[in-house]
């Protein structure tokens, strides 16, 4: 059996092939991710280049010619004359990138600290868990807001636009590491008392190798599940931060920023500015959530 066949034949793959919801969700997520990744190729316009925008194309309804330029846009345009379709593609790119990076950041941080706390135990553990408590006693949204505040103070304005995304990633990620750390710590505490770890100790395997080689692979299951759920949450968090006005720069709107812009037009008749990005966000978050749900069940041997 080659590697692919083995993967195809694994329990997880099997359960995937037999779950219509999971497949639909995966298809949807893949579609959005691909479309976003290939945005420069697919999108008819480059909405992030202000020089190409024509303000007079603003507020063109979907599939209707603009009154002045006569241009037709599939999903209409927004208040800056950006093609909504292109902007959604580019925006999804940012949202996905921010969400994904934030989760990876939180994951790396959480796993690192969780492993350390679980493995070292004692005061290191207590200290790290107290920090986690403090972190938890600060609502994540506030943490993100505050980090944003610091960054704004520290980063020179000229670099802000470039760094805004990274700041966002760090803010969301930093607000999210605790759950990874807790789960990993718990799993580490369980794993480290298993006999295979003692066997490695008898051999005299070095702690770093022990943690990374032995324990880490064994705690990845729950981590993956949390990661999927967090991904959806991070995408929403980005949207929420943008709503509070601390997200990505308005010249490079993410899905969340687009929704924030669009919700201003809820009563003014330009429904498409709100509707299409919302549907995209909903489809993205929902499919990732459903995938996470499925993965949780698929990785839980007891539920099979």
């Amino acid at each position: 059996m080659n590697r692919f066949a083995r993967i195809w034949d694994s329990d997880v793959a099997w359960s995937f092939r037999h779950s219509p919801v999971a497949m639909a969700a995966a298809f949807m997520a893949l579609l959005i991710v691909l479309a976003a990744a290939l945005a420069p190729l697919i999108a008819p316009y480059d909405p992030f280049n202000p020089a190409t925008l024509n303000l007079m194309d603003g507020f063109t309804p979907p599939m209707e010619p603009n009154m002045i330029s006569g241009n037709v846009y599939w999903l209409g345009t927004d208040n800056q004359g950006r093609d909504i379709f292109s902007t959604i593609l580019y925006g999804a790119r940012i949202s996905i990138f921010v969400g994904f990076s934030a989760v990876v950041f939180a994951m790396v941080l959480g796993i690192g600290l969780g492993l350390t706390a679980g493995w070292r135990g004692g005061w290191v553990d207590s200290a790290l868990m107290r920090i986690a408590d403090i972190q938890l006693s600060f609502p994540s949204i506030l943490i993100a807001l505050l980090i944003f505040g610091i960054a704004r103070g520290l980063i020179p304005p000229s670099m802000r636009e470039d760094l805004a995304i990274w700041v966002l990633i760090v803010s969301i990620g930093l607000a999210d590491w605790v759950q990874f750390a807790r789960v990993v710590r718990g799993a580490t505490l369980v794993e480290k008392n298993k006999e295979y770890i003692q066997a490695a100790r008898v051999i005299g395997v070095r702690p770093v190798r022990m943690v990374l080689g032995h324990i880490l692979p064994n705690v990845m299951g729950p981590v993956l599940v949390i990661a999927t759920i967090s991904l959806a949450l991070a995408i929403i968090a980005e949207a929420t931060l943008s709503f509070l006005g601390v997200g990505v720069p308005p010249t490079q709107p993410s899905l969340g920023t687009l929704i924030r812009i669009g919700q201003g037009f809820l009563f003014s008749g330009e429904w498409w500015i709100l509707l299409f990005p919302s549907i995209t966000l909903l489809a993205l978050a929902l499919s990732v959530n459903l995938l996470g749900d499925w993965l949780r069940d698929a990785l839980n041997p007891k539920l099979r």
Binding site: N49, P50, A51, T52, L53, N54, L55, M56, G58, F59, N79, Q80, G81, R152, P157, S158, R160, E161, G245, P249, P250, T251, Q263, G264, F265, L266, F267, S268, G269, E270
Partner: protein, 499 residues
Amino acid sequence: ETLRWARVGDALTLDPHSANEGPTSTLLHHIYETLVERGLDGSLQPRLATEWSIHADDPTVWVFKLREGVKFHDGADFTAEDVVASVTRVTSETSDFKGLHAAVAGAEAIDDYTVHIKTNGPSPLYVQNLTNFFIMDKGWIEANGVENPQDFKAGEEKYTVRNTNGTGPYVLESRDPEVRTVLKLNENHWAEKPAVTEIIYTPIKEAATRVAALLSGEVDFVQDVPVQDIARLQETQSVAVTTGPENRTIFFSYDMTSDSLISLAGDNPFKKPEVREAMALALDRDAIKTVVMRGQSVPGAQNVPPFANGYDAELDAYGAPDYDKAKALLAEAGYPDGFSVDFHCPNDRYLNDEAICQAFVGMLGRIGVKANLVSQSRTVHFPAIQNLQVDFYLLGWGVPPFDSQYVFDFLVHSREDARGGWNGSRYSNPEVDAKIKSLATETDLEKRDATIAEIWKQVQDDRVFLMVHNQVLAYATKANIEIAVHPENQPSMTNVTFK
């Protein structure tokens, strides 16, 4: 009849001299009264003062004749002593209005209904600063120990923050800050009885919620209507929208003096007149008006509202954008490929401020200028301008005294004592400075107007500002309510009529 009134923010305090801020003054105009007030056309109207003039013998003294038979809400009579006490209070250390009364040397009650206010020199425009100067009762001030407005350092709340005793048409019934303030008709008021007998004032921060509240009939009158909703609201049967020009100009400015910019080390393109001209040629004011402002703005080239003294329709005229010419000018100035610079913009202060900036970023992009938009809260934006930390920015400016001198003092004059505090362009022209200074004391109005015109000419020639438009105000009400737009955005519910 009861009027439910909503706008974006609440009055910050009920102390009449503690916060020089629009919504605060607007609400206080219903409780307290000023000597003079701004009419709907921008002219000064009598209120507690029936007449005012510069003393015939002494150009440094303003004489006010007061209205008789006026009573404070607690029943005390309104007299010249109250005005004197109010002047003392408004010029005190912790007053937020002391800047407007900086020229005041003292006030004197000549008799019960005559007051003299002496200034440190001729102040022909002083009376224009009094439209938000509320008169308090001397006895009440003393009885409650509120000789000074709120002092934060003291860490104690002043009695005046929550309690009022004015002469205005309404009496404070109850107040829950940022939730709801209820005013009842003052039966003893000197003027005609207004149609509105009760005001319920509720701030609603979110624009969508505010509009929803009007559409669902939960409020009767909404200020701060988002421009994009105006057209829709106008079409809605149950709602009426009134619009009118506001006393506020929106413009861009840039550091046109320094040799080096903060965001562009070693160079300053804005120093070159060609660059400034090119930028002006790139600005498509009509597009901004049509799309960003949804038709709700008055584009212009002179950054002073049309109803203010010094406005010149000729200077205010603007042409269509000309990108080719702009590019040519840039090339001429040595920037054939344009340049890159930070562009600072507030995102929570003016109507669609961020969208305006964004649109301009696109326009500049067309001529090769890369403006990196830094859009942030006014709490960061304004200090940055004042501290000269920005190269290129958007600013809005209201002109409460309705006179160009106010613009010159703050925006054109070099930074010096109380002047030039908002001069982010670092424009510094000693000649102009001298002219500006002369305006303050010039009592010959014709001569003064001529000087103003000269200054404007110079300022426009030097392209100190890149004016975008004057804001337009929109009030949305239930269809049966009529209210006129006030240029200072200080509508008075006494003017409301029901159909």
